[in-house]
Amino acid sequence: MIPAAFDYYRPETMDDVIAILQEHGDDARVMAGGHSLIPMMKLRMADVPHLIDLQAIDGLSDITIEGNRITLGAMVTQHDLIAHDGLTAAAPILQETALQIADPQVRYMGTVGGNVANGDPGNDMPGLMQCLDATINLIGPDGARSVAARDYYESAYMTAREDDEVLVSVSFDTPSGGHAYEKQKRKIGDYATAAAAVQIANSGGIVASASIAMTNLSDVPVWSDDAAKALIGTSCDADAVKAAVAAMLGDIDPSEDNRGPVAFKRHVAGVILTRAITRAWSRTTSRA
């Protein structure tokens, strides 16, 4: 648990960050909270000769709610998400999710940007961002560009971000309707055995819109359009939920690990999604 030697940088401007990235290519990595990267370095599973700490860059820690649009800076911590009343009022699923990530000590350091950018299938924010149809905002040598969260993840730890790009924020429209983030884990600090992010809008007792994403059930987060479609236009009755679960099961591809065999994970994924839809739907009706 002793990392290999590395150079540590703490630049104060994004231009400096990008310059270091350009100079060292994939020998350089930016670090936000460090709660994924540092353990990987200590295990010597990640070799990072040039480590760039983003802590000194201004303007990456803001939560802004402008009209219908919410933007979270890359350095916003999980704790910030939990503690922000305006955000919780506008998009309560963020607080519900963040409360299920690790423990308070980790949440004080762990960031939205790190969680989204790393491409670890166990992280909760990627699935959530897909559920919310978020946009991932990057800056690189050629300026800024945006990638839809639903297009961002290619395989485990592989994303649409180029080596010389930095994730600076994520943004999404204020979600409407009811929400739920349901997660089964073995213990505090563990990744999900299965987790589901659900947003549902209710129009006169009928599902007007729905979005469903699953976490740690494939090598990337799984946004299941078919599962959502199975709900839309229904009264979210038991048959509709069953259809949504069946559709979701067609999209996930879990693998066996210490959390259990594939059959168990698929079963639990169905149970977790059923519970998430039920809770999200109950929240719409209670608001209507």
């Binding site: 002793i2 010597r44 073995r186 065999p261 059959a263 168990f264 079963h267 639990v268």
Partner: protein, 805 residues
């Protein structure tokens, strides 16, 4: 003596003696980060060691190339077996009578085995150099299953080739270590063959690990000028380490000083001797400067002593009415690559022969076969006396299985088979003499407190509701009644490498009436500095606040066998009381002299000696202490000191009654602990607050083991649970509220009647949590399923029973 007048009450309270919940004196430094652990030790010029470890579970070591590592600036040495061989330190004896490689001698037997020891000026450089040591391996077939091992042609230990006799009798196969038999085989078989009812079950008590928060480590400092070796380390038995170090190194024992500083939890993990200790010593001898070695978490989980890994097969017979008539137990014990179990030398399977439990079983037979595999060595007593948790889990599962066989209530089945109060001292079928017990009183109190009948009624209603589809949660009621055997132990049958398992205490009373007491034990969090001072306060009439307790430095402490197996209070606690009584006897003579009466005319009263019948004439212990140093008393030597080496006449037998109520989500496999009630009888209670803390800690480690904590290997011997992501260490989040309760049945042979408590909750807790899970499925036909009961295994149980259809 007279009634407790306000004055006497106040004097008694000021002592902070036995029975009071004195706050822990250790906690001020621990809670403020002022502890002094091995890794806090920094000496001038100190070097740092790190291991090259085998990535393979079984391989030939073809070559080790040190060149690149030695070329790295800051690297001082790279040691291999070849370097240690001239000193004859490439192998070391184990506590179990086997030998173990210090560094790989031609082959490796488990993943994570120590291959080379790098010594560098800096911890980071040492880690970098480890990567630069080039080791060529040639992979060999891997055996991770002990049954397969006993059938395999693969010889795991060619160094033992041709040795048909091991440390514990004949070896039946080249991968077999020992067979240990206890009891009456023919008699047991006869009873089983003719029994009205026989229940049989096979169970696996999985491999796990004590995982103390502080990992293992040592700092060795060889002073070449005076020839003295000082060794600081995470040692649960520092004196034994000194003796072993002397025997191994040839350094005379008076030239070795072993110090256990603060230890961050041991739980059995720090009883044995590890290659890291030996390598730090050798490296210091070679370099002439201090060398530190501290393992990381992964190294701790992969290579230092594991616990359990017992495959157990039981047969229990009974009459139709449920009276148990006989018990048969066979164990196949997976010891890994070397037999490094930490048991008293004559007990290769520890006290597994306590497996008749709390029950009056007329005849029994136990056989344990130890087997080599390609797994890490160990087999330590993780928060239990030697193999006692295996024994209690075995009998408490067999009782449940017998209850199913008899279609009987498991609480009632226990009750009708308990050893009765009037039967103590009771000699069990496998030989132990239980010193005392009152099981029926404890059991009845437990069942009444939890409203056992009400719980069973609720459970039956839940089963009906489940069948009607109204709920997906089942309710389990876990029962356990355990008897521990702790306080090893009588020198006549307990020793470690020939050292009798007595323990010791030495007391010095200072002229102004305060004191220091030193013991042969060493606290790893148990609170010895608090509780031993309380024992002494009650014995010698000096406030616990005025008594320093010191342990762990072999240059100052009297010889003792250390702290594990709940032996500190039963053995060293007894030595403390006995040494205190010697102090008191001398104080009585001094008091009589000062009061100008005959010795027999004064008597002890809380903190003083008073003249019988004239309590206004007295000398306090403070006055007596001063007199011992400031005046000549005819016929009495100056000073006030005593030492006691205590050889206990018997073990102690704490017991307890536990009940766990659990709700299990059949669809996700998630268990929710609704209630946990623990009644413990540890005899005389020294500090109720510390007892409660010990029970909370032991139950939490029991919950861990029962519900998910394991060291798992894949088919080629890779450790699958090498980090705390996968190795379950519960936090406050996973832990339920515990209700604690007690009865008091003092040990008749212990000077203060105490029995030890640190391990009871673990021993009782594991079967109780497990029984709760299994009981939830009893109505649906489950007989037995193995731990750990993590989510997927519980789900699988439900799935196999058809509960997901």
């Amino acid at each position: 003596m007279n009634d407790m007048t306000p004055d006497r009450e106040e004097r008694s309270a000021n002592l902070k003696g036995m029975g009071c919940s004195r706050k822990r004196v250790e906690d001020a430094r621990f809670t403020q980060g002022k502890g002094n652990y091995v890794d806090d030790i920094k000496l001038p010029g100190m070097l740092h060691g790190d291991f090259v470890r085998s990535p393979y579970a079984h391989a030939k070591v073809v070559s080790v190339n040190k060149e690149a590592a030695l070329a790295l600036p800051g690297v001082v040495a790279v040691l291999t077996a070849e370097d240690l061989a001239p000193l004859n330190l490439h192998w070391m004896p184990t506590l179990a009578g086997d030998k173990q490689m210090v560094l790989a001698d031609g082959k490796v037997l488990f993943q994570g085995q120590e291959v080379a020891f790098v010594v560098a000026s800096d911890r980071y450089i040492a880690a970098d150099a480890v990567e630069l040591v080039e080791v060529e391996y040639e992979e060999l077939p891997v055996i991770t299953d002990p049954f397969e091992s006993l059938k395999s042609d693969v010889v795991l230990r060619p160094d033992l080739d041709g040795q048909t006799e091991g440390a514990h009798g004949p070896r039946k196969h080249h991968n077999h270590i020992f067979t240990w038999e206890q009891g009456d085989e023919a008699g047991t078989n006869q009873v089983l063959d003719n029994a009205e009812v026989v229940a049989e079950e096979t169970m696996y008590y999985h491999r796990t690990h004590p995982c103390p928060l502080e990992t293992c480590g040592s700092v060795a400092s060889m002073d070449k000028v005076n020839g003295k070796l000082t060794l600081w380390g995470t040692f649960q038995a520092p004196h034994v380490v000194r003796t072993v170090a002397s025997l191994l190194s040839g350094i005379e024992e008076h030239n070795i000083r072993v110090v256990s500083p603060d230890i961050g939890g041991g739980f059995g993990n720090k009883v044995g001797v590890y290659p890291g200790y030996v390598c730090s010593i050798v490296a210091s001898i070679v370099t002439g400067v201090p060398v530190k070695w501290v393992e990381d978490r992964m190294e701790n989980l992969m290579s230092t002593a594991f616990a359990r890994d017992y495959h157990m097969t039981g047969k229990i017979s009974a009459t139709k009415e449920g009276k148990i008539t006989g018990l048969h137990c066979h164990v196949t014990a997976d010891h890994g690559g070397f037999d490094a179990c930490a048991d008293p030398t004559k007990f290769p399977a520890g006290f597994m022969n306590i497996c008749t439990g709390s029950y009056d079983i007329p005849v029994a037979y136990l056989a344990v076969d130890g087997v080599y595999t390609n797994k890490a060595p160990g087999g330590v007593s993780y928060r239990c006396s030697f193999r006692v948790t295996e024994a209690v889990y075995f009998i408490e599962r067999m009782i449940e299985v017998l209850a199913i066989e008899l279609d009987m209530d498991a609480a009632e089945l226990r009750r009708i088979n308990f050893i009765k109060k009037e039967q103590f001292p009771y000699t069990a079928a496998l030989g132990w003499e239980y010193d005392s017990g009152d099981y029926h009183t404890a059991w009845d109190k437990a069942l009444k407190t939890v409203d056992y009948d009400g719980l069973r009624k609720e459970q039956a209603e839940r089963v009906e509701a489940f069948k009607r589809g109204e709920t997906r949660k089942l309710m389990g009621i876990g029962l356990t009644f355990f008897t521990e055997i702790v306080g090893a132990g009588p020198v006549k049958n307990c020793d470690i490498l020939g050292m009798g398992m007595f323990d010791s205490c030495e007391i010095r009373i200072h002229p102004t009436g305060s004191a220091i007491a030193r013991l042969g034990t060493i606290s790893q969090g148990q609170g010895h500095a608090t509780t031993f001072a309380q024992i002494l306060a009650s014995e010698i009439g000096i406030s616990a606040d005025s008594i320093t307790i010191e342990e762990g430095d072999t240059d100052t402490a009297p010889y003792g066998l250390g702290t594990y197996g709940s032996r500190s209070t039963p053995v060293a606690g007894a030595a403390t009381a006995m040494a205190g009584r010697k102090i008191r006897a001398k104080a009585q003579m001094i008091a009589a002299y000062l009061l100008e009466v005959h010795d027999d005319d004064v008597e002890f009263d809380i903190d003083r000696f008073v003249v019988k019948g004239a309590p206004e004439k007295f000398k306090t212990m403070k006055e007596i202490a001063y007199a011992a140093y400031n005046q000549a008393i005819p016929g009495i030597e100056p000073g006030l000191e005593a030492v006691s080496y205590y050889d206990p006449p018997n073990m102690t037998y704490p017991f307890g009654a536990y009940v766990c109520v659990m709700d299990i989500d059949v669809d996700t496999g998630v268990p929710e602990i609704r209630r946990f009630y623990a009644l413990d009888d540890c005899g005389t209670r020294i500090n109720p607050m510390i007892i409660e803390g010990q029970i909370h800690g032991g139950l939490t480690e029991a919950l861990a083991v029962a519900l998910g904590q394991e060291i798992a290997y894949d088919d080629i011997g890779n450790v699958k649970t090498g980090t705390l992501m996968d190795f379950f260490l519960p936090t406050a989040w996973e832990v339920p509220n515990y209700e604690t309760d007690y009865t008091v049945t003092p040990s008749p042979h212990h000077p203060i009647g105490a029995k030890g408590v640190g391990e009871s909750p673990h021993v009782g807790g594991v079967p109780c949590f497990s029984n709760a899970v299994q009981d939830a499925f009893r109505a649906f036909g489950l007989r037995h399923t193995n731990m750990p009961h993590d989510h997927w295994r519980i789900w699988q149980t439900a799935n196999k029973l058809g509960l997901h259809e």
